[in-house]
Amino acid sequence: MGAIKDVFHRMGSPRFFYQGSSLWVRGLYIGGSLGLIVGSFWGLVLAPPDKYQGDSFRIMYMHVPSAHLAEMVYFACAVAGFVYVVWRMKMADVFIAAAAPVGAVLTMLALASGILWGMPTWGTGWVWDMRTTSVLVLLFLFFGLIALRQAIPRPGRAAYSVAILALVGVINIPIIKYSVDWFATLHQPASITFVDEPAIETSMLWPLLFNAIGFYIFVAGVILAAMRVEVLKREWATEWVRAFTRGK
């Protein structure tokens, strides 16, 4: 218990975090790439084409993990916001600052791949259904996190305000989802959904799992690398960063 507490406290120190995380980034990049390579090869080459959609379903192997990760990254931002508001841990704010742009890019990736997938299968790139709309709102929430930080010059206020905004946004995510779900039944668009299909075939499921895990690990690596940059930017005036930038 004491050891865990010790690590927890030391992770709150930007210096310890920076020095301790360099191997982790490499490990996460390698692990994530392996998962993505295996999953993508399996999904794009080995998996059978879909009975109805042919090969166009294969974009699922990017669409599903990126959409899932986008939401998880926002949720993680909200957790970090809670940690910052309650315990004022500096590293929690560093996490939000690093993760928000990554989350925004993942959301855009999910939307773009969704449009590309929708065109051959739905016959339209964009449908205002529950999923699409809530993910679009998620993108705006990420933009809000980035824009608010940019707008506030004082770092303490910026960190606190962004943390509050992240928390406020997470309360709205389920509301948006259910409301739009409900709303969509009002003007139900004619669209094929996968909800009605029976469970996904195992030969298609396995590569998806590999890709999803690969996405998780790779995104963790990207965020960690971005956090390291953020730490250097914030601690530039400290002795250890100066020693580091002078080249030891």
């Binding site: 608010l148 206020r157 606190y160 509050i164 406020v168 309360i171 509301i175 948006i176 409301s179 739009v180």
Partner: protein, 223 residues
């Protein structure tokens, strides 16, 4: 206990009444923006009644957002915000009092004017009651959510675009249920479900938003 609520409510209402032209701005905006929609969509008797409820709702939403922009600005500039934060009485009630005062000079007049606006843009008569009702339920939610954005941006001197980016995603459910209820009535269905959802949003935002606003206001004093 209610002291803080009453004090803030009375004070802000008095300020709003004395700054008459500023207070009238959201209402003037509401009417002007509506007429812009009519010019853009055209006075076609087929389309105008069909888009009317949505247009009224969107314009009411913009009016609410633009008016919340400087909800805390003046108090931040003259220091009375700090006094409110230093007050030992619950910040929750003070914030609620301020927001109620703000709503009664922005959202309430818009809701009261909406039948006139509905006639103005050829909305069918049967939706007028539901339009006023949903606006009465929905605009307080808009004020409460907008208050969070206003508190986060208080004293930054950045204009409404930042506030729009922060607040608009959170406005979406209100808009969906508000105009959804009107369209249900327009289509001859009952609007009970969206109205109940609006009440849920109102109850939820009254209980939660003042906490977030209070936290954001405290954060505005941090360095």
């Amino acid at each position: 206990m209610m002291g803080n609520f009453g004090v803030q409510f009375r004070r802000d209402l008095l300020v709003a009444i004395r700054a008459r032209t500023e207070t009238a701005n959201p209402i003037a905006f509401f009417v002007l923006a509506l007429s812009l929609f009519v010019f853009a969509v055209g006075t076609d008797s087929e389309t105008l009644p069909r888009v009317a409820p949505g247009v009224v709702w969107v314009v009411a939403l913009f009016a609410a957002m633009l008016s919340t922009e400087n909800l805390f600005q003046r108090d931040h500039d003259d220091g009375s915000l700090e006094l409110m934060l230093l007050d030992s009485r619950p910040l929750f009630l003070g914030v609620l009092g301020k927001l109620l005062a703000h709503w009664s000079v922005s959202g309430l007049p818009v809701a009261i004017l909406s039948p006139l606006a509905a006639v103005f843009i050829n909305a069918p008569f049967e939706i007028i009651a539901i339009l006023v009702g949903t606006l009465l339920l929905g605009t307080p939610v808009l004020t409460l959510i907008g208050g969070i954005g206003a508190a986060l941006t208080a004293g930054l001197g950045r204009g409404g675009l930042l506030l729009a980016v922060l607040v608009m995603p959170l406005y979406i459910p209100v808009l969906i249920f508000g105009s959804g209820a009107c369209y249900r009535v327009l289509d001859g269905a009952t609007a009970t479900a969206p109205v109940l959802w609006l009440i849920v949003l109102l109850a939820g935002s009254i209980t939660l938003a003042p906490f977030a606003i209070g936290a954001a206001l405290r954060g505005s004093q941090e360095y």
